[in-house]
Amino acid sequence: MPVTTFTAPSTNLRPRLLLNCGLAVVLALVLGYVLLRPHGPGGSAGAAVPQSTQLESRTGVRFSRVAVVGDGGLVTLSYVVLDAEKASAFQADREHPPRLASEARHGGTQRASIMRAGHQMRAGQTYYFVYENTGGAIESGEQVTISYDGLSLEHVPVL
């Protein structure tokens, strides 16, 4: 698929840039984006999502949003790719998807539902998982801990 544009992954960074999608350019843009962005990426509403340098360097992604959807039956976990190679490995690790756990109640969902990308991941782009929300384990308005490979990110707001 021919790719002629690369667009900054946030409403916070304007104007959107039209660039030839060379890897160096993408990396430079992502780096600039990471340095410049005033808030968590992925939306203009809601509390900021905390970040973990450790988790980001392990996975190559930055988690950007957890939201209850599907009339309460589903949960989306969105993440921005920082390092395409690591992120592809992270996404392909089907046996060990990140776990979402409610911080308010016992339980959570380990039932990761992988909407697998049938394509090359690109730095700066946002991708997602859809989780089942068994028994309404995760609720909008609370905080969850995302854990992966022994690392965790606490106090992630659920939209």
Binding site: M1, V3, T4, T5, T7, A8, P9, S10, T11, R14, P15, R16, L18, P41, G42, G43, S44, A45, G46, S64, R65, A67, V69, G70, D71, G72, G73, L74, T76, S78, V80, R94, E95, R111, A112, S113, I114, M115, R116, A117, G118, H119, G124, Q125, T126, Y127, Y128, V130, E132, N133, T134, G135, G136, A137, L159
Partner: protein, 433 residues
């Protein structure tokens, strides 16, 4: 949906299997309290005097891959930019007035395809020509940056219609100037058309307004560059201005402030006593190509097309069951949809009498699929690791999407785009925790 034949029911069930329902053991949930509400669906803009004030504005929408796209849209004048325009709901035969205010940098207008006798500022709405005879607009327009124009008409036959820009049409409609007009039958607001066999459950009414976006073109318009609409390439495909998985989010989701409408059908099985009426899905195509939209696991009964009830001259029922709803540009289809538990499968008393196919036989596309863990409605099972599991209480989720698979992507990333799910809860509903 009436007269569902056994054959169709079997096909439906087979399709449900293919869509990703499978029994791998079962886990019966204990009784719980409250059932969760089903989705809010269609949000109508109504007015006691059928007077609607819309403002054409610019703004940004977000796509699930993190992009932010410059758009134009019609929003309520009292509100702000949104995509798509509000769903205007009126009753057939009533007088409708739509006042358009224009904040855009070029003239714009609204045409109401399917409505007759439309006036603009009191004069017949008609194409606007230059002195040399070239057309500038399909109808009278509102001047750039502050102009306004008032359209009036008498609402025509019941059904679903687009309203959209009549000025520089290919460009302005691509930019987002479109919305849905719902005309209800007089005296029968819970029918799709004047026929009593088009009755639906008003709590389960949905608009699926399908469209596409070429982000390069939008960037060009934002910068004021000349754009070549004829050579645009769509990268984003939307239902009600959202792409998967944002289609699953509720109306007015906080993270989609300018895209207020979700697109998830949420129903319970048909039951003659407790749930006799089908859902109604109103499909509209505001794009430039055919969108072959199809839900997995369920046919739908098309009852109205472009505001015409499907009936013969003698009143005979010409509605039809369809698995793949080809919604062509500018077209609307109103489809009744229900889900019938014909076989009443039960893991203990009425098990599915066949070897369920291996996972590899059930691929949606690629090595993963969507999976509700059990072939039995209301029952949960165990989960293979490479499977997309979407199951709160044993409910079914059937994927529904454009079968043109490039339209089911977010800028080429699979899956996304023109895709959502149809959720079917057990008869008692889905208990909340």
């Amino acid at each position: 949906m009436r007269n569902l034949t056994h054959h169709l029911a079997q096909r439906r069930y087979a399709a449900a299997l293919v869509a990703g329902t499978l029994a791998l053991g079962s886990l019966t949930l204990g009784a719980r309290a409250e059932a969760a509400p089903t989705s809010e669906g269609l949000e109508c803009l109504t007015d006691a005097h059928n007077t609607f004030s819309l403002t054409a504005r610019d703004g940004y929408v977000s796509t699930p891959d993190g992009n932010s796209i410059y758009m134009w849209g019609y929003g309520p004048s009292s509100g702000s930019f949104q995509l798509p325009g509000p769903v205007l709901c009126v009753t057939a035969g009533t007088h409708v007035r739509v006042i358009l205010h224009n904040t855009l940098v070029e003239p714009t207008s609204i045409v109401f395809p399917g409505q007759s006798g439309v006036t603009a500022d009191g004069k017949p709405a008609q194409p606007q020509l230059t002195d040399t005879g070239s057309m500038t607009s399909l109808t009278q327009s509102a001047d750039a940056t502050g102009g306004s124009v008032t359209y009036e008409f008498t609402a025509g036959s019941p059904g679903t219609y687009l309203y959209e820009s009549g000025t520089d049409v290919a460009k302005q409609v691509q930019m987002g100037l479109y919305g849905a007009l719902v005309v209800r039958p007089a005296g029968h607001p819970a029918q799709a058309n004047d026929r009593s066999d088009s009755a639906f459950d008003p709590d389960h009414e949905y608009v699926f307004l399908l469209s596409e976006v070429d982000p390069d073109l939008h960037l060009g318009v934002e910068r004021g560059d000349p754009v070549d609409v004829a050579h645009s390439t769509a990268r984003y495909f939307m239902i009600n201005g959202r792409s998967m998985p944002d289609t699953l989010a509720p109306n007015h989701a906080s993270w989609l402030p300018n895209q207020p409408y979700g697109a998830m059908v949420h129903i319970k099985p048909y039951d003659a006593q407790t749930n006799p009426h089908p859902a109604l899905i109103r499909y509209l195509n505001a794009g430039s190509v055919n969108y072959p939209f199809h839900p997995h696991g369920s046919d739908e009964r098309v009852v109205t097309q472009d505001g015409s009830a499907l009936a013969g001259s003698g009143g005979q029922d010409l509605s039809y069951l369809k698995y793949d709803l080809d919604v062509e540009p500018g077209q609307s289809l109103d489809a009744l949809m229900d889900w019938r538990d014909v076989e009443q499968w039960d893991p203990a008393t009425n098990p599915i009498p066949t070897q369920l196919p291996a996972i590899q036989d059930q691929l949606l596309v690629g090595p993963d699929t969507w999976f509700s863990e059990s072939g039995y409605l209301g029952k949960k099972g165990s989960l293979p690791t490479n499977i997309t599991a979407n199951n709160e209480c044993g409910e079914y989720y059937h994927v529904a999407h454009s079968h043109a698979l490039q339209q089911a992507t977010n800028y080429g990333a699979t899956f996304g785009g023109m895709m959502t799910v149809f959720r079917i809860d057990p008869p008692a509903g889905c208990p909340t925790s």
